[in-house]
């Protein structure tokens, strides 16, 4: 059956490939064509424009902070829920994964309720001169929430499959927890950690809904790249919108390439 299916390309196979081409390939071609529609000179001018550059910088800063925090958290969380038994372990795992099933808009709303004008915290933070809502800290927090489980959930399956024997042996021989983590555990999870970091980066740089609620939409101040694209698009500056989009499209493709490389290396490493 396999052979004949492969040779004749029956209708379902053609349908599947056509579907994938329409949804996955055509949009990429479209972005590039639109971005370059006014020529390469205009394209370069569009992506080096002042507000685009500022938005790019903000997205970069947010992404770096979020990925660093989530890496630290992911390592602690994955280690805690797989290397120790304690009551409430399953509940903790569910809680860590919760942001995955919360709409980004609802995440944004939640932070608005914690730090916004209606919250008792608002006056307190105002007193020390810290603005969270409609400012950069809010953008970072919202992005942090949305990407929170991304790194830990890549490592948890690997660590639970690996078991605790090696770590327990090391502990019984007198090794401290950091030595155990670094020398025994880390070599098992380095590929899944990297995988998680890549996924987290992709999501962090593109987050729109949650950030849109907490950003003040101030050009050059609290506008991330996706928000900047929205503004350009709504002002009918299509070629500029797609030029700026092309930066993120290229990064997205880079993420996909890295992803498949890591998966390949990871499989070889495990074998």
């Amino acid at each position: 059956m396999k052979k004949t299916q492969t040779k004749r390309f029956p209708l379902p196979v053609i349908l599947a490939i056509f579907f994938a081409a329409c949804f996955l390939v055509l949009p990429l071609i479209f972005v590039i064509v639109q971005a370059l529609s006014q020529g390469i000179g205009a394209y370069l001018a569009n992506i080096t424009e002042e507000y685009t550059q500022k938005a790019m910088l903000l997205t970069l800063k947010t992404t770096v902070v979020v990925v660093l925090v989530n890496t630290v958290f992911g390592l602690f969380a994955a280690w805690t829920v797989t290397k120790y038994s304690f009551p409430g372990r399953k509940a903790l795992t569910t809680l860590i994964d919760l942001p995955l099933s919360v709409s980004p808009v609802i995440s944004g709303l939640a932070f608005l309720l914690v730090f916004g004008r209606t919250s008792p915290l608002y006056g307190l933070l105002e007193g020390i001169g810290l603005k969270v809502v409609y400012a950069v800290p809010g953008i970072v927090l919202a992005t942090l929430f949305v990407t929170f489980p991304y790194i830990s959930r890549e490592m948890i399956p690997v660590l639970s499959a690996q078991g605790r024997d090696e770590e327990e042996a090391a502990a019984l021989m007198g090794a401290g927890w950091f030595t155990i983590f670094w020398r025994v555990t880390f070599p098992h999870i380095k590929w899944s950690l990297l995988y998680g970091v890549v996924l987290c980066t992709a999501r962090a740089m593109g987050e729109f809904g949650a950030v849109s609620i907490l950003s003040g939409h101030l050009r050059g101040k609290t506008n991330t790249l996706p928000l900047h694209i929205e503004i350009l698009y709504n002002e009918f500056r299509y070629s500029e919108a797609f030029a700026v989009s092309s930066i993120l499209v290229i990064l997205a493709l880079l993420v996909l390439v890295l992803r498949s490389l890591i998966e390949h290396r990871g499989r070889k490493g495990e074998a």
Binding site: K2, Q5, T6, F9, P10, P12, V13, L15, A16, I17, F19, A20, F23, L24, L26, P27, F30, V31, F73, F76, A77, T80, Y84, F86, L92, L95, I96, L98, P99, S101, P104, V105, S107, L109, A110, F111, L112, L113, L144, F145, E167, E168, A171, L172, W177, I180, A202, R203, G206, F208, G209, S212, I213, P226, I229, E230, Y233, A252, L256, R259
Partner: protein, 282 residues
């Protein structure tokens, strides 16, 4: 050796040192990032009287946004279920040029920022766009209609079903399909009797994930939906609208209904997975 054994009551339970620090850091961060915001949501919801809550979620415009959201998310997840299973099967069982590239591109909807997906799909499907101009003579409008919403949700949901079904199919021996085929079963029967029972839990998990994602999706939909009241407004957009008029209570009420729906999906998915696990272990 004796030292670390003595510190733990249950022998071998917590031999590995560092439990306090690890649990402490994890719990602190989970509380700060996840628990406090969700608690704030709950507290704000409790401050609403049942009457206020009911009024906020049963306004005509809100009700129709729920209908649009649920209807299009379910439809999109069904399309994703069918196309996802098909794509996974094609990727596992067939060889064709460009297969590795296609395999890599499946996750594009995860990697591509939703706002870009939104503006791109919109520009492609407006009547003069590359795809829209094919359908316009047939009288089918995509952008700025409910069809557009479904298109955007299908796009963001593609990876879920494919990626949960693919590993199961890879493990499934192709010779079962072959023998079923040789014994005279046609394609449909082979699928129905041989493949589907094996991939069903994975496919349903992917379906649930696509559904949950579709219900909450915002970035890709707002551009293509056209956002006409009573027609193409989705529930997350209604939350945005309430926030713009500083009606935090109304926004919280709508958010609560949406959260309840996604937790219900999560619960059902866990039940499906637990049943599947019992079946394979028992």
């Amino acid at each position: 050796m004796t030292r670390s054994m003595k510190n733990n009551k249950g022998p071998g339970r917590r031999v590995i040192p560092g439990f306090g620090v690890s649990l402490g850091v994890t719990l602190t961060m989970v509380s700060l990032v996840v628990l406090i915001p969700l608690a704030a949501l709950a507290i704000n919801a409790l401050q609403l009287s049942p009457g206020e809550f009911w009024a906020a979620v049963t306004r005509g415009r809100v009700l129709s946004s729920f209908a649009v959201s649920f209807f299009s998310a379910i439809l999109a997840a069904l399309i994703n279920l069918a196309m996802g299973v098909l794509l996974a099967w094609v990727l596992v069982r067939c060889d064709f040029p460009g297969k590795r590239m296609l395999d890599g591109l499946i996750e594009l909807p995860f990697a591509l920022p939703t706002a870009i997906a939104g503006i791109t799909l919109t520009s492609l499907t407006v009547p003069g766009g590359w795809i829209g101009r094919v359908f316009a003579p047939l009288g089918l409008k995509i952008a700025y209609t409910k069809v557009g919403i479904v298109v955007a949700l299908v796009f963001v949901g593609i990876p879920f079903v494919v990626r949960s079904v693919q590993p199961v199919l890879e493990k499934l021996d192709g010779s079962f399909e072959e023998s079923a085929f040789l014994m005279g079963a046609d394609n449909w029967h082979t699928f129905r009797r041989v493949i589907w029972p094996e991939i069903r839990p994975a496919a349903l998990t992917g379906f649930g994930m696509a559904l949950a994602r579709g219900l909450g999706e915002y970035g890709s939909v707002v551009f293509i939906a056209g956002n006409k009241p009573y027609a193409t407004e989705i529930a997350p957009l209604m939350i945005m609208g309430q926030l713009q008029s500083y009606d935090y209570g109304g926004a919280t009420a709508i958010a609560l209904v949406m959260l309840a729906a996604s937790f219900l999906i999560l619960l059902l998915m866990n039940i499906v997975q637990a049943r599947a696990a019992r079946r394979t272990s028992g």
